[in-house]
Amino acid sequence: MPELMIVRKVRKLWQRMRDTVRNEPRELEFQTEMEEHVRLLAERYRRQGMTVEAALLAARRQFGNPTLIKEDLRAMQIIPSIEALRGDLTYAARMLRKNPGFAAAAVITLALGIGANTATFSVCNAVLFKPLPYAEPDRIVMLSERRRDGTLGNVAPANFVDWRDGSRSFSGMAAMRAPSFAPSFILGGQSEASRLAGGMVSSGFFSVLGVQFKLGRNFLPEEHRLGQDRVAILSYSAWSARFGADRDIVGKAMTLNEESYTVVGVLPAGFQFGTTSADFQERSQVEIWVPMALDPPKLQRGSHPLLVIARLKQDVKVAQAQAELDVLASNLAQQYPEQNKDTGIVAVPLEDKVTGSVRVALETLLGAVGLVLLIACANVANLLLNRAAGRQREMAVRIALGASRGRLAQQLLTESLLLASLGGIAGFILALAAIAALTPQLPADLSRASGIAVDARMLIFTAVLSLVTGILFGLGPLFGSGRESAGESLKQNNRTSSGIQTRLRSGLAVAQIAIAITLLIGAGLMVKSFWALVHVAPGFRSDSILTARLLIPTSRYTDSRKIAAFERALRESLEDRPGIQSAGFATYLPLTGLDHALGFLVEGRPPLPIGTYNVAKYRPVSAGYFETIGIPLLRGRSFTVADTAESPWVVMINDSMAREYWPSENPIGQRVQFAGTGRTVIGVVGDVLHEGLEGAAKPEMYMPVEQAPRIESGPTIVVRTALDSGAAAAELRGAVSAIDRTVPVDRIETMQQLVSGSVAQPHFRTMILTAFSLLALMMASIGIYGVMNYMVIQRTREFGIRLSLGATPSDVLRLVLRRAAVLISVGTCLGIAGSVLLVRFIAKLLFGIAPLDPLTFAAVPMLLAIVALAASYIPARRATRIDPIAALRYE
C-alpha cells in the first residue's frame, strides 16, 4: 500500500512536471474551451430573448471570474518549489544586477580561481594521471642496473638475458636500445634524403606492452637472429606521413641505409614509448622499429646500452619481483665479479618512472592553485558576508513576516550558487583560453599534455568545483544572519555588527594573508633559483651558434677516415661562405640528453682492484669544434686536421678529469688507454655542463673522429655564424647537398634554443607559480580592503564621536591602520610558519639557494605588508574625512 502511494505520488509529480514544462499549450486548451463555454451559455440566454449584451453578461456571471479560474489552473500545474526556485533565481539575479560591483568582484574572483584550477588540473591530468597507452600499464615495470655509486643505469645485454631467463615474476621481459645507442635510418627511394628515428628491440617487446597492431604483426622470435633480421615495423605517424597510409604495406620492401627491409607491421595511432616524460614529445618518438639480435655467447657485460621492461605476472607485486631480482643480482655478482660486483637490479613501475621527473613540480603547482582557490573562496565569502550584514534588516523583516529560516537559507544558497555558476562558466572559458595559450609553451617533459582535450572529466571537475565553492561560501552569510534573532536585528540599528561576524571576517582576512605569504615565498624561491639557474655559466657559448644533425650513410662511408673526410670537406665549404666564421662536429652535443661513457686506464698506475673502473665521458669531435662552440683551451693544444688515423693517437680531457686524475701533475703528455689503444693527452679544455644547467661537470675525454673506437656516422654540426638562423640553415643545407645529397640534415636549432629548452620546465613552473602568487597577493589585498572598509562603515558613528570630541584625523587613521596591522602581522606570522613547513616539499625544485633563504623570507612579508597596508589605507583615509554631525545623524 505505501508503495502504491509512492507510485501515485511520483506519477502525479511527473504529470505536474510535464505540465510545468509545457504549461502554455495546456492553458491555451482551457482558454478556448472556456471561451466556447461562455459563448454557448450566452447563446442560450439569447434564445430566451435577452439582448446580446445582457446575454453575455449573464453568461459571464454564471461562469465566474475566468482570470481566477485560470490562476487556479496554473497553480495546479506547477510544482510549488520550482516556482519558488524560479522566484529565488529572479530575485537573486535582480540583486546581482542592482549591485554590479559586488557581482563583478565575486564572479571575477571565482572565475580566476576556478579557471586557474581547471587549467592546472588539465595539465596534471594529462601528464600525471593519464595512463600510458598500453594494456594494463600498471603492471609494466622498468628494470635498471644499480651501479656501484648507487645511481641507476642502462643494462648490459648479457645481464638482460640472465635476468630474463632467471626470473619467474614476469610474464615477459624485453629490451630496447637506449636513445644514445639507437639506430638511425636513411630512407631510400625518396627525392630528398630523410632520416627516420630507429628503435631496436628484443623479441617480445610489443607483447610485453600489449600492443594491438594496426596492420600486420609483431616480429617473430626467429627474426631476432642475424641474417633474418631485415624486417621492420612502422609507427603510425611514419606510416601515414611517409608511406601515404598504404593499407597494403605489409609484405612490401623498403630501403633503409641502402639495405632492403620487409615491412611486417604497423603500430596503432597513439602508441608511444618512452621511459621519461620528455620522451613522449613527438620528436623523440621512434618511427621505425627493427629487431635486435642477441647472440648469447657474444654478449657483453661491460657496455650498458639497453632499456629493459617487463610485465608482472597477475597477482605479483612489485616488491615480490624486487625480492626475486635481489637474489638474482647477488648470484650474478658472485658469478661475474669483474662487472657485477656491488651492483643490483631495481624494478620501478614504468608509470612512476615516466612521471617521476615532473611529479614534484606539477604537484607543487596543483597545491599552489588549490591555495589560490581557497583565497578566492575566502574573498567571495567575505564579499557575501559584507552584503549579508547590509541585508540583516531585510532578513529580519522577512523572518518577522513569517518566512522560515530554511526558506531564507534556500534563497541565500540560490544567490551564491548563481554566483558560483556564473564564476564556473567564466572560469571554464578562462581555462580554455589558458590551455590554448599555454599548450605551445609547454616544456618538453610536459609534452604528454599537448594532447589535452576538453573532456568530460574536466567539465565535471569544473562543475563540482564551482558547486562546492558555491555551497561553501553560501554558508558564510548563514552564520552571519542565521544566528541573530529577528527581533534583535530589528531593534538594532544595523550599524553595529555581531562579534561572531567580525571574528569570522577577520579570520578570513588573516587566512588569506597567510596563504598569500606562503605562495609568495614559494614563488620567490622559485624565481630566485631560476635566476641562479639561467646565470650559470654552461662552459660554452650559446649565441650565434646553429646546430644540426647529419646522418652519413655507412654503406659508402665505410670507415672513420671517410667520415672525417666528409666532415673536413663540409667544414671547408662552409667556412668559405660569407657570414660563417667556423664549423665543427661532435657526436654528443651538450644539453641534448644524449651521452656515452667509457672505462679507461692511466698508464703507469698500479692496476685497479677487480670490479672498479675509471670512467669518463666519451666525446668524438672534429678539429674546430672547441673554437666554434667556445669551450676554452686551458692547457696544451687543440685538435687539428693533422690528427688523423695515421698520426699519433691523442686525447684531450676536461678540467674535471685533469683535476681528478692528475691533481698535482701536468696532465699534458700523460698516457691513457681505452678501447684497446693507448693515447697521449695533448690538451685540457674547460668543463661543460653537459647534462643540464642544474648538473655538475663530469670527467670527459675528447678524441678526434678518425681515432674514435667506432664509426661516428651521426654527428651534430655546430656552425658559428653572424647570419640569422634561417639563412644559416639554407647555407648549411646547400653545403651538405653540394657534397653529398643523400646525407639528410635535420633538427636545425640554435644553441640558444637548446639552452632555453633545457630550462623550459623550471621556467614554466616559475612563471606559473609567480602568476598564481601575484593573483593571491591581489586577492588578499582586496580581502583586507574589504574587511577594513566594512569596519570603517560599521564604526562611522564611533569615529564621528571621537572626531567631535577632539580626536585628530591622524588619530583615527592610526586607529584603523593599527587594526589592519594586527591582522596583517597575524597573517604574516602564520604564513611564514606555514612556509617553513611547506618549503621542504619544493626543496627538490630549487637550485642554488637554500629552501629557507633568508632574503626571500624577509622580502616577501615586507612586500605583502606594504601592499596590504596600502589597501587598508583607502578606507582609513575615508574614516578621517567623516563629518561628525553627519555621522551622528546617520541613524
Binding site: 474551451e33 463555454h37 475566468p66 479560474i69
Partner: protein, 120 residues
C-alpha cells in the same frame, strides 16, 4: 449587486470536493461529455438548488485528469465545433465506487446527527 447576492444566497454553495464526485458520476452515467455538457447536466440535476460557478468545473476537470481518473479527447460537438470530450477511466470508476461508499457513510452519519439535534 447586493440584490443578486441576497438572491443567490438561497442556493447552496457546492461543498468542497463534492464537485469531483459529481463530475465523475455524471461521466459514468452519461458517457463522454464536454465541459459545457457537464455543466448543463449538473444544472439539470441540481434543479437550480446548487449555486455553481461553471468555471470551477474546469479546475475540477484538470484535477481529475492529473489523478488519472478521467481522460480527455478532442472531438466535434453537436453543432460541429471543435470540443474536448471527457470520459471516465477504469481507475476513475474504481475511485467513484470508493467515493460513493464514503459519501453514503458520511451522509448517513450526518443525517443521524442532524436528526438527533432536532429531537432535543
Amino acid at each position: 449587486m447586493t440584490k443578486g447576492k441576497v438572491e443567490s444566497n438561497k442556493k447552496s454553495e457546492v461543498l468542497q470536493g463534492t464537485l469531483d464526485l459529481m463530475i465523475l458520476k455524471t461521466l459514468q452515467a452519461m458517457g463522454p461529455l464536454h465541459g459545457f455538457g457537464i455543466a448543463r447536466r449538473l444544472e439539470q440535476l441540481s434543479e437550480e438548488v446548487l449555486r455553481l460557478n461553471e468555471g470551477t468545473v474546469y479546475t475540477s476537470l484538470l484535477r481529475l485528469q492529473q489523478e488519472g481518473w478521467i481522460a480527455a479527447e478532442w472531438g466535434a460537438s453537436e453543432n460541429n465545433r471543435k470540443a474536448k470530450f471527457y470520459s471516465i477511466t477504469k481507475r476513475g470508476l474504481k475511485q467513484l465506487e470508493r467515493e460513493t461508499e464514503d459519501w453514503e457513510r458520511i451522509s448517513g452519519v450526518i443525517d443521524r446527527l442532524l436528526r438527533l439535534e432536532g429531537q432535543r
